[in-house]
């Protein structure tokens, strides 16, 4: 039972996004968020552990560069709100860290690495409701791989990646795994 998320060391699989692709996608998403919000007012970015957190920090760094403001950034652990807790071994909890200004009446942008069934985001919306009442909640995702099981969609997507459900999409980020890459493995292609 380890608390820390292990770094992804599996280097097999087809690379679908390179480090350059990832940083370009994030720059675009950061611009989109600012454009949609008409500036950085009331924005709060919350990354979903583990890899949504470094992504949210990178988005905020880009925003600081282009807009010259520090957008509050935090993390939102959704483990305790998951609907599959009973079907899996016990999961370790990650940190929930809400910026000092809170989320009431803010425009909260949830950030995660992969959007798949949509169940993580459902849990995130529920977790968020217990922490306050944002004016708007948006969703930014690095990779949208389809196969939704719930009526959830992302507002900002780095890359749409049609996959079969037998495949595994793995996002590796320098902060956690030592390098940036998105790979697909498994399935028969």
């Amino acid at each position: 039972m380890a608390v820390a998320q292990p770094a992804r060391t599996d280097t097999h699989g087809r690379e679908v996004l390179t480090s350059g692709d990832i940083s370009r996608a994030l720059r675009r998403i950061a611009h989109e968020i600012l454009e949609r919000n008409k500036g950085a007012d009331d924005l709060v970015l919350l990354g979903i552990p583990s890899r949504g957190v470094p992504l949210a920090r990178r988005l905020v760094a880009v925003m600081a560069e282009v807009e010259g403001v520090d957008v509050p950034v935090g993390s939102l652990d959704v483990t305790m709100h998951r609907d599959d807790l009973r079907h899996q071994p016990v999961r370790a909890l990650a940190r929930t860290d809400i910026p000092a200004g809170g989320i009431d009446d803010k425009v909260v942008v949830l950030v995660d690495d992969v959007l798949f069934h949509g169940r993580t985001i459902r849990a995130a919306l529920e977790a968020l409701a217990e922490l306050g009442r944002p004016r708007t909640v948006r969703l930014a995702i690095l990779v949208d791989r389809g196969h939704r099981e719930l009526p959830i969609r992302a507002d900002h997507v780095g890359k749409n990646l049609p996959t079969s459900s037998a495949e595994r999409v793995s996002v590796r980020l320098a902060e956690v795994d030592g390098e940036d890459a998105v790979t697909i493995e498994g399935g028969d292609r």
Binding site: V3, M80, H81, V90, R91, L93, T96, E130, L131
Partner: protein, 317 residues
């Protein structure tokens, strides 16, 4: 981690670290306006208490409720045990209602171990006789760590009625797991028999002289924390010490002792599992001093019990 929590010895250092890390997240939930998470929705937890309790029972109940489990309290007095039903029949009756966890406090040492063999539910030991009280040791470690940080190499003195103390038995194990040095202090009459061998295997020191330990004369040097144990009059049939006054003078954390202690270590932490006999084992102003974490222990109790319930009950059955 095991399905049951019967003894502190069931938990490895990793388990303890995981529970304490989870408790930190649970503590955040405790500070929110809406103190409710859906994690244990649909689970049923029975608190079965055959002994009086304020904090343990209420904190287990609150912990379960905040995590959306259904918690029900049964006390020995109000149950069919008062009509002569055996413990085995009582717990098997409750178990037959397909509950998920039984939180048990019982005056007989080993009762929880026994119950765990009779039921399908997870059994959590909430204090069995003079044997163990594992969640108390976890919350003590949590409160202590919050105050002084990592416990590796720190020195904790546990003082008082060791013979009747399950808190002490669980604490020497859990503190030991976290790398702390422990010295236990008690009058010879309140030292459990055979403690010398036990101290050797579990790696703690023993002493009859409180002042020597508080002055830093122990094998492990000056103390970082002092845990005062309650004098358990309800378990004593007399003859353990001449008068309460004499106990206070030789083994109580009096105002005078506290002054000398803070003179050498201003940050020394005072713990007491409660309920306190103010004026007997601990002076009232020591209990209320800034060095005391007595209320932090209570507050940690809910978070730590939420963490324990989470780890025992949230995964696949």
């Amino acid at each position: 981690m095991n399905r049951h929590l019967l003894s502190s010895a069931d938990l490895t250092r990793d388990d303890v670290e995981t529970i304490l890390a989870t408790a930190e997240q649970m503590h955040d939930v405790q500070k929110r306006d809406v103190k409710k998470i859906p994690t244990l929705r649909g689970r049923t937890i029975i608190n079965l208490f055959f002994e009086d309790s304020t904090r343990t029972r209420s904190s287990f109940e609150i912990a379960g409720k905040w995590m959306s489990a259904d918690t029900i309290n049964i006390t020995g007095k109000g149950s069919s045990t008062s009509k002569g039903e055996s413990l085995r029949d009582t717990v098997r009756t409750i178990d037959a209602m397909s509950v998920d966890a039984l939180v048990i406090r019982h005056p007989a040492s080993g009762a929880c171990q026994q119950v765990a063999q009779w039921v399908d539910a997870s059994v959590i030991n909430a204090g069995d006789g003079t044997h163990e009280h594992p969640t108390q040791a976890l919350l003590d470690a949590y409160a202590l760590r919050n105050r002084i940080g990592d416990l590796d190499g720190r020195h904790v003195a546990i003082v008082g009625d060791l013979t009747h103390s399950r808190v002490f038995r669980s604490n020497v194990i859990t503190l030991g797991r976290l790398g702390a040095h422990v010295t236990v202090v008690a009058p010879p009459t309140l030292m459990p028999s055979g403690i010398a061998d036990w101290a050797k295997t579990d790696g703690f020191a023993t002493s009859w002289d409180l002042d020597e330990i508080l002055e830093g004369g122990a094998t492990h040097g000056p103390v970082d924390a002092v845990m005062m144990l309650r004098v358990q009059r309800e378990r004593m049939s007399g003859g353990y010490f001449p008068t309460p006054r004499e106990y206070t003078v030789t083994y109580g954390l009096t105002r005078d002792r506290m002054r000398r202690l803070t003179g050498t270590n201003p940050d020394v932490v005072v713990l007491h599992p409660g309920p306190m006999n103010r004026g007997l084992e601990i002076a009232a102003d020591v209990a209320d001093s800034p060095n005391s974490v007595v209320l932090d222990q209570v507050s940690a109790g809910v978070a730590v019990r939420m963490a324990v319930l989470y780890h025992l009950l949230s995964g696949e059955a």
